[in-house]
Amino acid sequence: MTTRERHRDRVEINPRTPIEPEADRPREGFREAGDAFLDAADDAIEQALSRDARTFLLQNRQMGGQ
């Protein structure tokens, strides 16, 4: 492979591509479903999170798998 080909083989993401999720942007026809999702997400996150993430992560350490 030539140097030029290697260069072309690099990651190419259009700089104008939005890199943040589109979730919070209103979409016609999806707004209502999106709001319901976000409400449910807020509730689920509140229920799930431990309030002490570092301790949770330390408690949940796992051995390497295959």
Binding site: A23, F37, L38, A41, Q62
Partner: protein
């Protein structure tokens, strides 16, 4: 076509004082509890086959693992994977009654421990009749681009936060390898067939556990169809052979908009979606042929719809595919902390640079974010050099502690996403009715107790249940069951075996 899947679970527990229960103690208790609760009379120490024909065991990486029975459709594989989730969670829930000193047991389908930077996989097995040497050329572009169905999460190599469609993808370092325990290939070539019919077994190792039914059904269905195509003599991989497959896999994984391109042998540059569409077209051209499975058209419809949605943008799949659901959750949580998604890239760039500087000066001690907070002298000049860049992005070093706190929280969210109980984020969202991931007709309740009807798993499931009820000691593996009390054995080397024919046992040599 016979196929099956494996799930390795993350399990942890706290005692009533809030102290971590040692992992080995927890796993020993879990195994013991499984033996007593499930009532099997197998003589194996590390696991046992259940009446539904699947295998529950402790794997060599010390994770509780569920392997589905042999199935003939992707819909069945997903049904039995979900049955495994239910079996594991039921066992975990009832453990606290037996060991009241354990106050909380957490089981998750997550595949990453971000603190230890360790990962575990969700393997797939497919029976096929293709010469193993022909597989890489046909399969590698497909598997590298299949990352668009990944579980999502964080690239464990980043000292900051770098979103990826598949954490597992960055763990993969080679295309194939014979070793299944130490190397990290897309698929293994050890070809342990688990049958004596002359067929081979493809063991795919590049995926992680998925919660979404759509993603899961597509993962197994599309892979099985590509194999079926190659069995017919079609060669779809050659037209899209990647020059650098592993680099392409990593690149595709880091682009949620699915626009990243990789060079193929013809020097064209294709996206993951274009490669997937190439395989889809190849399968579609062969629909209706008698040697393609009867579910092929249903998978193609779902495959095409998902690729079309991804083409239109990730927002079209953010209630369907795991990585997109997770990304939306992560974004929401960052937003609630006042952190912009774009800030992640700034911290990733700056902290990766500092990690390089640290590693160049300190080969023995790993880089940690506290070194930046403490303004370690090794890093001070580079921190100073990076300051204009960081500030130009609207960020300041004084915000780093807040970012680190958010980072831990997002790692926790990732682990909580796959939680098996009702507080698991995926389960909670599913219960709220706001996801669109369901595939109709997946009867999980039946799969918990009953084997698939059309493979040797039916015989295995019936026999282990009958022997256990009779109190008969037995040992079993995927291709044989040995009745130790009556010194007879049942040969299940044919995956489609329908007859239960016992013969005298020469010597007990099996372990499960």
């Amino acid at each position: 076509m016979v196929m099956g899947g494996e799930t390795e679970y993350a399990i942890s527990a706290r005692d009533t004082q809030g102290t971590i229960v040692d992992q080995l103690t927890l796993l020993a208790r879990f195994l013991d509890h499984a033996k007593r609760t499930l009532g099997q009379t197998s003589t194996a120490d590390r696991g046992r086959f259940l009446p539904n024909g699947g295998l529950l065991y402790l794997d060599s990486g010390l994770h509780m693992e569920w392997a589905t029975p042999e199935c003939t459709s992707p819909f069945d594989v997903v049904r039995f994977l979900k049955a495994g989730d239910r079996i594991i969670q039921d066992l975990a829930s009832s453990m606290t009654c037996r060991w009241p000193d354990m106050s909380e047991i957490f089981c998750s389908r997550s595949n990453v421990d971000y603190l230890s930077k360790t990962l575990w996989a969700a393997h797939e097995s497919y029976m096929h009749e293709i010469a193993p040497g022909a597989l890489p050329a046909e399969l590698v572009p497909f598997l590298a681009s299949r990352v668009i169905l990944g579980a999502g999460g964080w690239d464990y190599r980043s000292p900051a936060l770098r979103f990826t469609l598949s954490p597992r993808a960055h763990f993969i370092t080679q295309v194939t390898d014979r070793d299944s325990q130490h190397s990290r290939p897309l698929f293994h070539t050890k070809d342990e067939p688990l049958s004596r019919t002359g067929s081979h077994r493809l063991h795919v190792a590049c995926s992680e556990t998925l919660c979404s039914d759509v993603a899961n059904v597509l993962r197994f269905g599309t892979t099985a169809l590509v194999l079926a195509l190659v069995e017919r003599g079609v060669r779809p991989g050659r037209e899209v052979g990647l020059i650098s497959p592993i680099a392409a896999l990593h690149r595709f994984a880091l682009d949620p908009e699915c626009r990243a391109r990789a060079v193929i042998a013809t020097r064209q540059r294709l996206t993951a979606l274009e490669i997937q569409r190439h395989y889809l077209s190849s399968v579609e051209r062969n629909l209706g042929e008698s040697d393609l499975p009867d579910w092929a058209e249903r998978i193609c419809v779902l495959w095409k719809a998902t690729l079309d949605d991804l083409e239109r943008g990730s927002s079209r799949v953010d209630a369907t595919l795991d990585w997109a659901i997770k990304r939306r959750l992560f974004s929401r949580r960052l937003g609630s902390r006042g952190i912009e998604w774009t800030t992640l890239r700034t911290w990733d760039t700056a902290l990766t640079r500092l990690e390089h500087v640290w590693n160049a000066a300190n080969r023995d001690q790993p880089f940690e974010l506290r070194l930046v907070l403490e303004n370690d002298p090794t890093l001070t000049p580079e921190i100073r050099r990076l300051t204009p860049f960081v500030e130009s992005q609207g960020v300041s070093w004084s915000q780093l502690p807040e970012f680190i706190t958010a980072r831990d929280e997002l790692f926790e969210l990732d682990a909580r996403y796959g939680g098996l109980d009702s507080r698991g984020l995926f389960n909670a969202l599913d219960a709220s009715g706001t996801l669109r991931h369901q595939v109709p007709g997946l009867d999980v309740t039946n799969a918990v107790t009953s084997p698939p009807p059309d493979t040797r798993a039916r015989i295995r499931g019936d026999v282990v249940q009958r022997l256990s009820r009779a109190g008969t000691k037995y040992a079993a593996d995927w291709i044989k069951i040995c009745d130790l009390d009556h010194r007879r054995e049942l040969d299940l080397a044919n995956p489609f075996e329908t007859q239960e024919e016992w013969r005298e046992m020469p010597a007990p040599v099996l372990t499960r």
